[in-house]
């Protein structure tokens, strides 16, 4: 199990770049996370970009990773698969560029 995020083709992810209209959700992005005990899946708290996630293949509601990180302990030692959705908030400027980090962290 490589210690990095991978996509559904098992290719490592180091960054994603996208453009999205305000107040909209992206299509789900499948992300694989090497899960370990005591770690959490979380994301930066950003005013314009929210990252939401749920377990792939479930009908669970999406949760905001900035405010409700997902505990990875139950999946310790496995590669947990999640659907990520990028939600954009309303902007006042014509184009607002943001960088948000998604992380597996022990300190969410």
């Amino acid at each position: 199990m490589s210690d990095q995020f991978t996509d559904n083709f098992n290719v490592p992810i180091t960054y994603l770049s996208t453009q999205q209209v305000e107040s909209a959700d992206s299509s789900p992005i499948i992300v694989k996370v090497p899960a370990v005990a005591l770690a959490w899946l979380s994301a930066d708290d950003d005013a314009y970009v929210r990252v939401r996630a749920r377990r792939n293949g479930t009908a669970d509601p999406y949760v905001d990773l900035a405010t409700d990180p997902i505990d990875l302990t139950p999946y310790d030692g496995t590669t947990a698969v999640f659907d990520l959705v990028i939600r954009t908030e309303a902007v006042a400027d014509p184009v607002v560029s943001r960088a948000v980090q998604v992380r597996r962290t022990f300190n969410p």
């Binding site: 210690d3 990095q4 995020f5 996509d7 083709f9 290719v11 490592p12 992810i13 180091t14 960054y15 994603l16 770049s17 996208t18 453009q19 999205q20 209209v21 305000e22 107040s23 992206s26 299509s27 992005i29 996370v33 090497p34 370990v36 314009y48 970009v49 990252v51 990028i86 954009t88 908030e89 902007v91 006042a92 400027d93 014509p94 184009v95 607002v96 560029s97 943001r98 960088a99 948000v100 980090q101 998604v102 992380r103 597996r104 962290t105 022990f106 300190n107």
Partner: protein, 758 residues
């Protein structure tokens, strides 16, 4: 039993018993003990350099180990007496590894840096373990999402087939009408340049102190919504043309060039030279070293360099110092691995960017900034594959598209050189030099401009890492343009080095703008007229076997040769190098001439060492005339010796393309500097893949202006029939907005992009 071992490799025979008290001080030694050593008395071991490995040793008395540098591995080591151990650092952050170690007495371990692994270690008595930075929190695993959030009104306005644009320049918040505006975001730079043609040709409208904001407006159905492309721009150049149409009507024109503040910020340099170093890997500078770096002030006094120790320094520390503390960005966002860095320096003339670029250059990163003043340093070769997020760029958005595949260099192996944990001797860092020189008067035929870009390698020793002991040019590109801005010559030179850091020659290609015989003698685009390849060989110094001497230098020139079939010389068509033929006016497009590639000249220099003198024998053979041009021997004072042990600094690994070994090897060298081995190997494999299959380049003139495109935007570009051409990352773009004489505004965008590859 004090033992002082000053230099070189320590060789202690196996099965040695140090029965009494022992004190071993190893200065700059590579200490590797894999023997059944028994230290019966109190032992003090102080190695200050190199790699430490103890295997099978037994310390019966009280033991004190102070290991100031190097990797520490203890295998099957037994400490029976009281033990005090203070190892401080390892190269490239390799861990201290303690498998099968027994501490029977009281043990005191102060491990001040690095990660420590204990495997089957037993502490049987009182133990004090002070690992100040040893048991680290496991680092986060992360990736970065870059999201451009677009205003919905802009998106709606850009969705239709008919769009309305306008542009405005605000000079100190007052709108100044412009007839034409061209915004250029070139490749390989950070800032943008704006050229404005003023509607009213008044020089006073924009001065050096003016603050210029440039905005492009898009009609949203109710009003223009403006997107700011440059804010706080400053006047950099100006052209004022006075002319009269029909001899009477004034048609003056004022064109101003504006640079945005980011471009200026990029060139910032510290007020005093700044040196960052990792005190666990590089010794603190001595007073004499500091004194050597001082700069005297004209009015008296000194500028002293600032030495900043950063324990466990990594790339992020250097990026923050350079771009946040130095250049003034709010933050640096990067996906480049945060590898350990031994030292970095920011000089008065090289600036902050010049100091950090050598660390980044191996990744060929994309740099761009956003409105929040954050700098993005992105390795574009590690993006998400597939098409899930790249923004579609349909054929309908294309007015013209040029898809080019750069020339490939087929190789099936690469020699990867990097600094391993067990290498000593010289280390090097690299810096980029760029200079432009002009000669002659601008606007006259005697004017030429020459731009030089070179990568220089600064070699230092492990003992004195802040002192540059020698410099070597690694590669150099020289481009010369004439007074009409035609590129008349371009040379690319790449120097080669062996694993000892010795120069082994170079390859230089020269392209010149010369008459093309296939086009009636008209000047052709640059033709590859000359290829120069040099090979330098070494042999052992006959007077000192520990040293090498330079043996032979062979330089072979080959290139285009003009063959005059209409003029025979000694029964053969007359042949002359094309450049010489052009210089002497020999080229006749109407004559019976053609060109062909051939060897032109070989120069061989043989060196022979004679104590304090060197004999240099030079032979020059002209292959075109098949004659020896020169054959001479001269004696010169001096020596040409190289100390092998001092220069041994890197490890070399051969990486190959699987399944191609039987074809014979075509090898290139890739030097990964001080990158850790695993990262160096990853980059080496990427380099190997790029040589065989370089990424495609695309230039697109778009049908419409898209104000959301910036450097770093990912595009999924499609061609005829909406067939995908792949995913591309935008490397540069331009926006031109011009008022038409008949009314209205024409706005155009073109962009350059590079194919994304894994």
């Amino acid at each position: 039993m004090p033992i002082l071992i000053p230099v070189e490799q320590v060789v202690i025979p196996p099965s040695v018993l140090f029965a009494g008290d022992t004190e071993i001080t190893l200065l700059q030694a590579s200490f590797n003990l894999q023997a059944a050593l028994v230290f019966g008395g109190a032992t003090t071991l102080v190695p200050t350099g190199g790699v430490i490995m103890l295997e099978g040793a037994a310390f019966s008395g009280g033991t004190s180990l102070s290991m100031l540098m190097g990797l520490q591995t203890l295998v099957s080591v037994q400490f029976d007496g009281d033990t005090a151990m203070a190892p401080t650092a390892r190269l490239n952050d390799e861990p201290n590894v303690f498998p099968e170690v027994l501490f029977e007495g009281d043990a005191s371990l102060a491990l001040s840096a690095g990660l420590t692994q204990f495997l089957a270690v037993a502490f049987q008595s009182g133990t004090a373990l002070a690992a100040s930075a040893t048991i680290e929190r496991q680092p986060d695993v992360e990736f970065t999402l870059f999201v451009d959030v677009l205003d919905s009104a802009i998106v709606a306005a850009q969705a239709g087939n008919i769009r309305r644009y306008t542009a405005r320049a605000l000079v100190d918040s007052v709108e100044v009408p412009v007839r034409r505006a061209v915004l250029e975001a070139p490749e390989n730079t950070l800032g943008m340049e704006l050229q404005l043609t003023l509607a009213r040709p008044l020089l006073s409208l924009i001065t050096r102190s003016s603050s210029v904001t440039f905005q492009v407006g898009i009609w949203t159905g109710a009003a223009y919504q403006y997107v700011t492309l440059i804010s706080g721009g400053k006047l950099s150049a100006r052209q004022n043309t006075l002319k009269n149409n029909d001899g009477q009507r004034p048609a003056d024109e004022v064109v101003v060039s504006i640079i945005d503040p980011v471009a200026d910020r990029w060139n910032r340099a510290p007020r005093a030279p700044v040196y960052l170093y990792d005190p666990e890997k590089v010794p603190a500078p001595t007073q004499s070293e500091i004194a050597q770096q001082r700069v005297e002030l004209d009015g008296g006094g000194f500028i002293s360099p600032v030495y900043t120790p950063i324990s466990g320094m990594r790339l992020r520390d250097v990026l923050t110092e350079a771009y946040v503390e130095g250049c003034g960005f709010a933050e640096v966002v990067s996906n480049i691995p945060n590898f350990p860095v031994r030292e970095a320096s920011f000089s008065l003339d090289g600036g902050y960017d010049g100091g950090v670029r050598p660390l980044l250059e191996l990744f060929a990163p994309m740099l761009f900034a956003d409105q929040s003043n954050r700098l993005f340093v992105i390795d574009p070769d590690s993006p998400l594959p597939g098409t899930m997020l790249a923004q579609p760029h349909p054929q309908s958005a294309t007015r013209q598209l040029v898809d080019s595949l750069p020339q490939r260099e087929p190789v099936n192996a690469i020699l990867l050189q990097f600094q391993g944990a067990d290498t000593g001797g010289e280390t090097f860092t690299e810096r980029l030099e760029q200079e432009t020189s002009n000669s002659g008067q601008f606007g006259t035929p005697a004017y030429t401009s020459t731009a030089v870009t070179r990568r220089v390698r600064e070699y230092r020793t492990v003992a004195e890492p802040l002192v540059v002991v020698r410099e070597e040019v690694v590669d150099e590109e020289v481009e010369t343009t004439d007074w009409e801005f035609n590129v008349i010559e371009r040379t690319n030179r790449t120097d080669r080095f062996d694993a000892l850091g010795r120069k082994t020659g170079f390859l230089m290609t020269t392209d010149r703008r010369l008459p093309d015989l296939n086009a009636d003698g008209a000047y052709a685009l640059l033709q590859n007229v000359l290829r120069t390849e040099q090979l330098i060989t070494y042999k052992t110094n006959p007077l000192d076997s520990t040293q090498d001497v330079q043996d032979k230098v062979t330089t072979v020139e080959s290139g285009l040769v003009l063959v005059d079939d209409g003029f025979e010389y000694l029964g053969e068509p007359y042949r002359i190098p094309l450049t010489d033929a052009h210089a002497s006016g020999y080229i006749d497009p109407e004559g019976d001439m053609h060109t062909e590639q051939a060897d032109i000249r070989t120069t061989t220099e043989q060196l022979r060492v004679r104590g304090q003198q060197v004999d240099v024998e030079v032979r020059v053979v002209n292959h075109v005339s098949n004659a020896t041009q020169r054959n001479s021997t001269t004696s010169r004072p001096g020596a040409v010796t190289i100390d092998r042990s001092e220069q041994t600094a890197s490890r070399t690994v051969l990486l190959t393309v699987p399944g191609t070994d039987t074809e014979g090897r075509r090898v290139q060298t890739f030097n990964a500097g001080e990158l850790p081995a695993d990262l160096a190997k990853e980059l080496g494999l990427r380099r190997l893949a790029r040589l065989n299959d370089p990424p495609r380049q695309i230039a697109v003139d778009r049908t419409f202006v898209d104000l959301s495109i910036r450097r770093g935007t990912l595009l999924r570009i499609t061609g005829r029939g909406e067939a995908s051409l792949g995913n591309y990352i935008v490397t540069g773009f331009s926006v031109a907005v011009e008022e038409r004489r008949e009314g209205g505004v024409v706005a155009e965008t073109s962009l350059r992009a590079r194919e994304l590859k894994q």
